[in-house]
């Protein structure tokens, strides 16, 4: 039947379209670890082993980080270095959520931001037992595990 034939053609077209889309994505931003320059590789060192497994758009984001990094003061650079590992180990879903909440935080009224910063300062100064207590009281702020900064 003509309809069946047409249906088969459409299915085939769909599959090729999907394949093509994936293929294009691969070729367009194919940046193997070897193609990065020294500065980039220095910043993204923690990701060296996982680099090839990252999806193209994930690599692009990481490269963005590497690009922004030189513009930052030293202490911030240090933070980026320290946190890059755990960042790369998160799922894309978690990272998306993190980005959203980061924006939400930025739009908080100044006193709220200050309040949160104070709480974290307190946390960092506290003993392990005290930190455990704080985590139990406010898991929404301090999480459920001790985070090494």
């Amino acid at each position: 039947m003509a309809v069946r034939k047409l249906a088969a053609i459409i299915i085939f077209a769909l599959i090729s379209l999907l394949a093509a889309n994936l293929a294009i994505a691969e070729d367009g931003s194919d940046q193997p670890w070897a193609s990065l320059n020294d500065d980039q590789r220095k910043v993204l060192a923690p990701l060296a082993n996982d680099w090839d497994a990252l999806r193209p758009w994930q690599r692009e984001r990481m490269l963005e980080i590497a690009n922004d990094y030189p513009k930052m003061p030293a202490d911030r650079q240090e933070r980026v270095q320290q946190r890059l590992n755990s960042w790369s180990r998160m799922t894309p879903f978690e990272r998306e959520n993190a980005r959203k909440r980061f924006q939400q935080f930025k739009s908080l009224p100044p006193e709220k931001k200050e309040e949160l910063r104070k709480q974290w300062h307190e946390y960092r100064q506290a003993s392990p037992e005290k930190r455990q207590e704080l985590r139990t009281q406010h898991p929404e702020i301090f999480g459920t595990e001790d985070v090494e900064r």
């Binding site: 963005e64 922004d68 980026v80 909440r101």
Partner: protein
């Protein structure tokens, strides 16, 4: 196999009755009322008119209402479903691409360089805290 003559006789008798019954039914069928007969005749004409024109898309129902393309879409509903799926998939892909581009403009470096580790932002409960505190 035993041949049961009496049973056979009965069976034959039944066969005869069956044929006689159906000949009576035939008579009955040939005497249906004129209105029904004319409707059947009309239906036959309609059916013949639609012969060899399977997907013209036009059909005239009994009420004389022309169902333009109604039948056509029903017949090709498989095709239509596939078309819809293709379009939705394309839309999804396009949106995904666009979202990717959008996100690439925001720097993750600033998130990582901020006051708190990324675990804070990825914390589900933090989202709740944020909603509560942004309203006050």
């Amino acid at each position: 196999m035993k041949i049961d003559p009496e049973n056979q006789q009965v069976e034959l008798g039944y066969q005869v009755i069956a044929k006689r019954i159906t000949s009576l039914l035939d008579e009955q069928a040939s005497n249906i009322d004129a209105k029904a007969a004319s409707k059947l005749s009309y239906a036959r004409q309609q059916a013949l008119a639609n012969m060899a024109k399977p997907s013209s898309g036009m059909s005239i129902s009994q009420n004389g209402v022309i169902r333009l393309f109604g039948n056509y879409w029903y017949q090709h509903r498989l095709l239509l479903t596939l078309l819809m799926c293709t379009l939705s998939l394309l839309a999804l892909l396009a949106r995904h691409n666009m979202v990717n581009q959008e996100e690439a403009e925001q720097g993750d470096a600033y998130l990582l360089a901020s006051d708190f580790p990324p675990e804070v932002y990825s914390n589900e409960g933090f989202g709740t805290w944020l909603s509560e505190n942004s309203q006050q």
